[in-house]
Symmetry: C2
Subunit: 145 residues, 2 copies
Amino acid sequence: MESPCSIARTLEVVGERWTFLILREALSGVTRFATLRKNLGVAPDILSDRLATLTEYGVLMREPYREPGSRTRCEYHLTPAGRELAVVLGALQQWGDEHLPWPAGPSVLRCTPEGDALHVGFLNQRGREVDLEAVRFVRTAAYPS
Amino acid sequence: MESPCSIARTLEVVGERWTFLILREALSGVTRFATLRKNLGVAPDILSDRLATLTEYGVLMREPYREPGSRTRCEYHLTPAGRELAVVLGALQQWGDEHLPWPAGPSVLRCTPEGDALHVGFLNQRGREVDLEAVRFVRTAAYPS
C-alpha cells in the first residue's frame, strides 16, 4: 500500500478482473467456494488467491459451516466495508449497460425493494445529485509532487 | 464482448490496473503519451496497448498536435462516454479514502467548482440518495440460466 492515490490503493485489493466478478457474486448472496468456482468458471488456485486477498483486507470474512457427512468448510461473507463496494460494482455495471449494451437488455437491474430504478452518481452533502460537468478532482498537499 | 453481464463487459475495456490509472490521469487533464508515461512509470508498450483499447471502444479519441520543430503526434482526449467513467473512478477513490486511508490524508478531493465536497452513491429517479441497505441487484430474463 505504497501509493498516496486512493484509486491505486483500492486497485491493489480489488483491481483484478476475477476479483470484481467474485464481488459481483458475493453481492448476489453467493458465499461458497464451490458455487463461486462453478458460476465464474475460474481456476481454483486463482479463486483461492483472490479470496485470500479479499479476506486479508477485510472485504470478506470467513465463517465455518458444515454439511451433514462432510468436513467443516468456510463460507465467505461480505463485511460492511465489502458491501460498500456495491457502489463500484454498480458504477461499472451502469457504464456497461449504457456504452456496451447487450442485445437482450440488462441482465441485472439496480432497484429498491419497491422496484424503483437506481443509478450511481455524484452527490453533495445534502444528498442531492450533482451533474458530472460540475465534478472536479482537486489535488491536495498530500499529492506527490 | 461475449458476456451478458455489464460488469464483465466494462471490465473487458477498463478492467486492468494500468487502464484505471490512465483514466485517472485523463480525468485530471493529461492528454499526451509522454506525460502519461512519466506520471505512471508504465512501460511504453503496455501504455500503447491500453490506449489502443480505450480508443477502440470510444473511451478516448485521438487528436493530432504538432510542437514547433517536431513531427505530428497524437493527443488522447476523453469522449463523453469516457468522462462518464468518472463515476467508477470516484467510487474506487472513495472506498480507498475510507478503508485504506493514507497517513497524510486524501491526495485528491471530489468537489464542485464552489468547493462543496462530493461523494458517490445510489440515487433514485428523482435524484435523491438511497441508502446502500436499500439497494437490490435483481436478475432479469436476460440473465444466463
